[in-house]
């Protein structure tokens, strides 16, 4: 397997250094804790929004640090929760009189580390809360989770809580919004190929040439079933059906629709999936208020995609529309 790697152990630090060098005006890199933070942070006038998780899901989370999105992100190694001291020191560095919100996708290792960091930081007098995101409808439990996994839908929780924090909301209000968005966000993904972590150098799991994993997790965890390759429209049907039924989304609902690439799928294919998903929703009387197509939460170089729906109301839609400035840009 060919990859751009020097020392696999240095993969994450090397990536973070590049990210910082490319964005000197907006980002600050603290190598001791893998920390990427806003260059002008922490803002003492607002709640600090921090996301931590394993690396390998870029642009989540280190590449969505910026005004209107995350104040900081502290990644672990590829697919590994950050060590406790990274999260603990990050929380101390991001402390604000208005408090700190730690956003975490619901995986066992992450949950334990962030709960502990919260406990230790609280003992030092920092006002800090943790919010776990669990939008994946594929499986209730997996090897890596207590309960439902958090996947690409975390983008909407981050966007909404960050917008609320910028508007000056206090910590309780920010959490209320985060919990609300999480409660109306549902996702399911599919893998066409496995992904290859730099330190492993070989695919993380076996998938035959004509096989796909329906309901795959963002670390390649098994989903609902292993299936034979099928047409794009059939795949949309298998992803969208469980997502719509889960909340459930109903006729008359207005939604945000995201087709998220897992890292190894061309954007042309993502738009193809989007088109079919949009039409299928319209047939069910569900209107798409906001559309998102691209890479938001990836699994390294995995070919595949996930579909996320968020049930919109005026409050959520307004928060999603607030401006944000992050390193991912096209101009």
């Amino acid at each position: 397997m060919k990859k751009f790697v020097n020392d696999p152990q240095q993969f994450v630090p090397d990536m973070l250094e590049g990210l910082a060098l490319a964005n000197p005006d907006t980002l600050k890199y603290v190598p001791e804790y893998n920390l990427i933070m806003r260059a002008d942070g922490p803002d003492q006038e607002k709640v600090s929004i921090v996301q931590g998780s394993g690396s390998g899901h870029e642009p989540a989370h280190v590449m969505i640090v910026g005004r209107g999105m995350l104040d900081a992100a502290c990644p672990g190694d590829v697919f590994a929760a950050p060590p406790l001291d990274y999260v603990y020191e990050t929380t101390k560095l991001m402390a604000s009189p208005k408090g700190v919100l730690l956003l975490v996708n619901n995986y066992t290792g992450d949950k334990m580390v962030f709960d502990m960091a919260q406990e230790m930081s609280s003992a030092e007098g920092i006002e800090v809360k943790t919010l776990f995101i669990n939008d994946d409808v594929s499986v209730e439990d997996s090897t890596y989770t207590i309960g439902r996994r958090g996947v690409a839908g975390n983008f909407f929780v981050i966007k909404a809580v960050a917008a609320a924090a910028e508007r000056g909301a206090d910590l309780d209000e920010v959490i209320r919004i985060g919990e609300k968005v999480n409660s109306v966000t549902r996702t399911m993904g599919v893998a066409l190929t496995a992904c290859t972590p730099p330190a492993k150098g070989s695919p993380l799991f076996e998938l035959g040439e004509d096989e796909i994993e329906m309901g795959v997790g963002i670390h390649g965890e098994p989903g609902r079933r292993r299936a034979k390759m099928m047409s794009a429209n059939e795949i949309v049907e298998e992803l969208l059906g469980p997502v719509v039924r889960d909340l459930p989304f109903r006729e008359g609902d207005r939604v945000a629709l995201m087709v998220n690439g897992l890292g190894g799928t061309p954007i042309s294919e993502l738009y193809l999936l989007y088109g079919q998903a949009h039409k299928r929703l319209a047939e069910q009387g569900i209107s798409v208020g906001r559309s998102y197509v691209g890479e938001y939460c990836t699994s390294l170089d995995m070919a595949g995609a996930s579909i996320t729906l968020v049930k919109l109301d005026d409050e959520i839609e307004s928060l999603l529309m607030d401006p944000a400035e992050i390193p991912i840009r096209v101009f």
Binding site: P83, Y86, Y88, G109, M112, E119
Partner: protein, 210 residues
């Protein structure tokens, strides 16, 4: 609080750390039966860090000392072992904060803090086939011995014996938590690796007690 208190706590932590490092392979083998075999590696890496940083820990009081140990362990041990063992030390530290002297009752209170912390963090309880199945009954036994007026030597011996007895008894249980739980009924017949490791650690600690 006397300096003897801190010396005893230091002995306990150092003995634990040394056993975890010395028994890396043995603990790994215990875990490999039905778990993922990384218990020995995880504990050894975490407690190696404790031994390496030994002289740098702040020793203002027992609580501060134990909090530093918690951070050292958790920052190095990955997976679930780090948070679980780190939480045990963190909660023992919180319990120590409220104590004036480290006597038998204080030890019980710190152990209760540790096991309650593991329960909460791991979402586990007695009967799930974890180290709690050795540590909680042993703490109960220690409390009984203290109430009956046993000497420190008798207390330590009883604590170690109960830990071993209960660790061995986990063989009959089906794992409900951790990687071993994916083996379901196949986990019956061998002791829980965490409980067995705790028994080995406690036995050596008691045998070496100064």
């Amino acid at each position: 609080m006397s300096s003897t208190d801190l010396a005893d706590v230091e002995f306990v932590v150092r003995s634990l750390a040394q056993t975890a490092v010395d028994k890396e392979e043995a603990f790994g083998d215990l875990d490999a039966v039905v778990g993922d075999g990384d218990l020995g590696y995880s504990l050894a890496r975490g407690f190696e860090k404790v031994l390496a940083d030994w002289d740098s820990f702040k020793r203002d009081d027992v609580a501060t000392f134990l909090q530093q140990i918690a951070l050292a362990i958790s920052s190095r041990i990955g997976g679930t072992s780090g948070p679980l063992w780190g939480t045990a030390f963190l909660r023992a530290s919180a319990a120590a904060k409220t104590l004036d002297t480290i006597d038998g009752a204080a030890v019980v209170s710190m152990l209760r803090g540790a096991t309650d912390g593991i329960k909460a963090r791991g979402n586990s309880d007695l009967g799930d086939k974890t180290l709690l199945d050795a540590l909680i009954p042993a703490t109960d036994e220690l409390e009984r011995q203290l109430a009956a007026g046993a000497s420190p030597v008798q207390c330590r011996a009883a604590f170690a014996a109960k830990t071993r007895e209960c660790a061995d008894a986990t063989s009959a249980l089906e794992a409900k938590r951790g990687r071993a739980s994916y083996s379901g009924a196949r986990s019956i017949g061998s002791p829980d690796a965490g409980a067995a490791a705790v028994a080995i650690i406690v036995e050596r600690m008691v045998a070496d007690w100064p």
